[in-house]
Subunit: 143 residues, 2 copies
């Protein structure tokens, strides 16, 4: 992995999305806090708790290749040892049933990312991403 | 609303789910931080930013009545002025197409809740809830 400076939560977040874009499992896992409570929820997945489970979840995703993703519209709240970012993730998704170029579409997710400061370095503590939907209909049905 | 002590993030969270169970909009909104960046994502909804948008999103939900919900399996990280809880939400969902009792099912969501301490009181800053799915298949497709 590149020599990444992890002196701000924002730098960790940039490196996080870069690791996804490169499909680089070691670069990804180097960003996570050394904490048994790290927690990760991918779009449409269950939650994974602990470094081993989080690593295995990313390994499964990267087996399909790298992820064409970029973050936009970041909303951040930063404390002394915790930082929270809520971001819109734009992912290029390929529908294998469609013809090549016509089958590529941008899928948006909303993600909440939590960073913790440990020994002067920020690390990822939680990643919770879910499909964004323009309509509130589903939410109204559930809560 | 009841006179709720907001001296811990956990107390705010209890009051939050109680307000949903009672369908009480004023009790709900009394728990949110006085901050233009408050942010709320309901299951299957877009994100709502700012107190007016968050209030309107809850008003729409409560128009359908109260929400039968309870939180389980809380994972918490608490700093001096920020606290993060990730919880499993169990919601009773009624399918109107089914016969009465057979149409009731428990739907699970995963939620990340962020609390901020303002003037000695904890308030809600962010609520991000999305459907829980046992399979990672969808996540593998997207990222």
């Amino acid at each position: 992995m590149r020599n990444v400076s992890l002196c701000t939560a924002d730098a960790v977040e940039e490196a996080f999305y870069e690791a996804m874009q490169r499909g680089n499992l070691e670069a990804m896992m180097a960003l996570w806090a050394d904490d048994e409570d790290v927690l990760c929820v991918h779009p449409g997945s269950d939650r994974f708790v602990g470094l081993a489970a989080v690593r295995e979840s990313w390994a499964r995703i990267f087996r399909h290749g790298r992820v064409e993703i970029r973050r936009t519209d970041v909303r951040a709240h930063t404390g002394a040892v915790l930082a929270i970012h809520n971001v819109v993730e734009q992912t290029l998704s390929v529908d294998p049933r469609s013809a090549a170029s016509a089958g590529v579409q941008v899928v948006e997710c909303i993600a909440t990312n939590v960073y913790v400061k440990q020994a002067g370095r920020w690390r990822m503590m939680l990643h919770h991403s879910a499909l964004r939907q323009e309509s509130a209909a589903a939410g109204e049905r559930l809560h």
